[in-house]
Subunit: 552 residues, 2 copies
């Protein structure tokens, strides 16, 4: 039996990815990657193209963050693949599933000076959960079966515990244009039933619950919810324990207005009359709030950490580690209870209302960053995405996203907190939403400015709310702050970029707002248009600390 | 004796780098990196700041390429360091010395969920020649002596054979602001005499030369000069052997007008009447010209490779490997001679003149990319830098940079041939020249567009000649070319960016040229202004292949 053309090896690989539910691929143009790019293009994958591989990887990261499903990446050989590294690191630490497919020269053209060639074997080091050097594509029955298995295995690994990055390095020899005319391009070696990936939940048994009840009984404590997805039943857990829920903006719990949901805990924990904390039940990473981990850490409470992989506890307090995903645990913890009454929770709720009133009061009287963000939360549509940049944007959101009965999905690259790839990530995540907003500072925006070119090919609604203080305003908050010239030179780094012109260069609508009262209308106008739009809010670099401090 | 403040550890490190001749550092703003940034800022280093770490590393690469001296890089922890990876790979393969200094959390804050933290240990994998995890800075006598030794060792390794990338990972604990008021900040532990790094030359001995003479005697051959620096004496070698010098644009040998210097060998080797090649003496990488390695490879000549490290011979022909730097070899090879007379060399020279006349003739009649590049070579000033992007720019230069009696330094990132970091690299290299030019296509330019913000802080003359065909024109040359829609979608990727607006966004002068006759004046005008300027040449995407083919 004659072997099929080598293109069916790739067709089978792509088909099998599709059969286990993978739907998206982001391709960067290149020659060596032609076989993968053309086969994906012919398949039923949704294919996006990004000329900058760094941005492409963040774009894929954003998509996978929003869907929790792996997204594929395809690039050519050489430094192209190295440009994926920042997003690969972020995906590894924040547990986002990516399947990175790098094209390479065949083995006999490596390490001997051939053009556009570098050592791509394990080039992302320890940042991947799975690496395989692929064989040259071949159409034989055995090789096609292998291609299908490696596709399944890639998804199994990328969606394991923890989710993470799979890297497959594909050698391709010339000629690079695949034969797409083969009838069995996608069907060769396909088994009748699509593969099934099951993930049974973990259930705590009665003796585990008993053990936990012993730890919490009679103690006053809090449920700390970092980045993650939580079921509504977490409110029941809070009620049974008598513990408030300290809800990070990335917990997406601020959509609930119940008194037990505490959004102003950063401010509360800074107060001298902050309630005592004797137990912490912690899900996900520590919240954005620095007060949260410094104050809680200093109190040395009994610490119960719920996580499927690791403690992530740089307070060195872990007393109980529950190996479980948050939602599994919450749903299985019906037997967990406490007997401290309702007074403690009521005290938290009362302080929370005091802080909310204070923040709204301060905002009312001042044209500060806070007023814009409060206005944004007022205006943002139910069911839409709010992507936050790192540095000040996520901190502003922590302070000014006050809980309300409106479902907003808040996302941010909080694995390693980089300012890189912000616009690309937001555009990626925005693929899953009808309307989206990116809240960003100017340095993060400038860092990834060429991602504006992506808007041309995407059918995406994304409004960028750009708080432009012409430099690294976050450093105003830090001890490095100084009146010496080095502070501006090394930290503030003013750039004087004119974002109106830059936006025009990419054909993107842009409006500059000078006071907060104009924000709501500009925002509604931007959201009503399809595509990308920018609302620029100019603020002063200096004084950011003092303006912010009034709210704290 | 009380220990000095920890800042002297860094002061001694920076001082020792300076004492072995390192002068430049590129810093990206960040908090964790404050100790290094502030100590470098106070030192006598020339310090530049780039907010984008990817660009910063290419900027440093460009500087080190031009000077052949290591350049230091400083960034904060997390994905910042991952952004260095593309330039680190390029530096590793093209043997450019860099000293990468990444800030990190102290060991007790790693791997436990602390913010902006990832595993930075050996994060560049096999791309470095030297990696060390540093201890926390300490002011004790022993630690300060260690800091000085590690500075010396870093330079020893970065400038070894091959030159390459050193990576030191520095843990820093809070407080991060260093004490710069210590009198002995830079002098602690300084030994009286500055350290000396000697590099004796390698000399071939008589029996080696004899051996080589046996290989070449009576054979007709060529001297193939890839990227590198060559002494004028290479012309003597050519004369003694009777071999022409096939001079890649990156050999910087096209400044010599001697008949033996062959610049049009790509065209000559494509001809049916190309002279036979029985021996090749090859220095550096294979040239840009594809015909050069395919035709030469097919002829299977005796191959003598001169290199200090490796063969870089993907034609699998190496018969003699001479472990030597090109200039050492050229200067020591006075005994190398041949007896084939002058006819062979004259034949090459004759064909070369024919091709030159043909290229100039074609250019005269057509408003093609070639005419712009010929005009650029006419206008460019003696002693200035010409940095070429990859893809078409370097190929155009190979064809249209015809030898002439004018010293131009041509540089390009030909280690891995990426299109990333092009503007940053050119700006870096431009630091060593009074006037500079970057020849680039639009995709490479767009890939690194935020590097335009660098112009604000630099005292640099750089004219960007941007050949804008609105997409990946190079793919027109490749077998992927097709009239099917996938070709535009996956390869051409038109972006419709308006570079005039983008330039204005960064405050950079920009002019668009519609025909070649206007080029010379626009170029002279741009070169006469300090700072960055852009001359945009709009050409059609389609037809690039045909336009170029007329010259070949």
């Amino acid at each position: 039996m004659a072997s099929a053309p080598w293109s069916v090896f790739l067709g089978a690989f792509v088909d099998e990815l599709s059969r286990v539910g993978i739907e998206d691929v982001v391709v960067s143009p290149g020659s060596r990657s032609t076989p993968l790019a053309m086969v994906f293009d012919r398949s039923n994958f949704r294919l996006r193209v990004d000329i900058d591989e760094r941005g492409a990887a963040f774009f894929a990261l954003g998509m996978a963050k929003a869907t929790r499903r792996p997204v594929c990446l395809v690039c050519t050989s050489g430094t192209a693949a190295a440009n994926y590294y920042p997003a690969v690191c972020e995906a590894a630490v924040s547990r986002v599933p990516l399947i990175v497919l790098t094209a390479d020269r065949p083995h006999e053209l490596r390490g001997l000076g051939a053009a556009q060639t570098t050592d791509q074997i394990k080039m992302y080091g320890d940042m991947t959960v799975f690496f395989r050097e692929m064989p040259l594509p071949e159409g034989s029955v055995g090789k096609v079966a292998f291609a299908r298995q490696i596709a399944r295995e890639s998804v199994i690994r990328a969606t394991g515990a923890p989710m993470g990055v799979v890297h497959l390095n594909f050698p391709f020899a010339e000629p690079l244009v695949p034969d797409l005319g083969v009838p069995e391009l996608f069907s060769a070696g396909r088994r009748p039933e699509p593969p099934v990936l099951l993930r049974p939940r973990r259930w705590a048994d009665a003796s585990d619950i008993e053990r936990l009840n012993e730890m919490v009984t009679g103690r006053r404590g809090v449920i700390l919810c970092g980045e993650g997805e939580y079921p509504h039943e977490i409110l029941d857990l809070s009620r049974r324990l008598g513990f408030p829920i300290l809800a990070d903006p990335l917990s997406n719990l601020r959509r609930y207005t119940e008194a037990a949901v505490i959004d102003n805990y950063d401010n509360i924990l800074r107060r001298d009359d902050a309630p005592p904390v004797e137990v912490v039940v912690r899900f996900g990473q520590y919240p954005v709030s620095k007060a949260c981990f410094t104050k809680v850490g200093a109190l040395g409470p009994v610490m119960i950490v719920v996580d499927e992989v690791e403690s992530r506890d740089f307070n060195y307090l872990t007393d109980v580690f529950v190996r479980s995903e948050p939602d599994d645990f919450v749903l299985a913890s019906g037997g967990l209870r406490n007997d401290i009454g309702s007074e403690y929770l009521a005290r938290w709720a009362d302080l929370n209302e005091q802080e909310r009133a204070r923040i709204e009061g301060v905002a009312h009287g001042a044209d500060s960053e806070g007023r814009y963000v409060l206005s944004l939360i007022d205006c943002i549509r139910e069911g839409s995405l709010l992507f936050a940049a790192n540095s000040m944007a996520i901190r502003y959101l922590d302070t000014f996203y006050l809980k309300r009965d409106k479902e907003i999905r808040v996302l941010c690259n909080r694995g390693i907190n980089g300012i890189d790839g912000t616009l690309s990530s937001a555009l990626g995540a925005a693929q899953s939403f009808e309307t989206s907003t990116l809240l960003t500072g100017d340095l993060a925006f400038l860092h990834d400015i060429n991602a504006l070119h992506l808007a041309r090919g995407l059918d995406t609604n994304l409004t960028v709310v750009l708080i432009n203080n012409n430099g690294g305003g976050i450093f105003e908050m830090l001890p490095q702050r100084s009146d010496e010239p080095y502070f501006e030179r090394l930290f503030l780094t003013p750039h004087d970029a004119d974002f109106g012109h830059i936006a025009a260069g990419f054909g993107i609508p842009h409006v500059r707002i000078e006071d907060a009262s104009a924000f709501a209308e500009a925002y509604r106008e931007a959201q009503s248009r399809p595509g990308l739009g920018i609302i620029e809010v100019s603020t002063l670099t200096s004084g950011a600390k003092e303006r912010y401090a009034r709210y704290l």
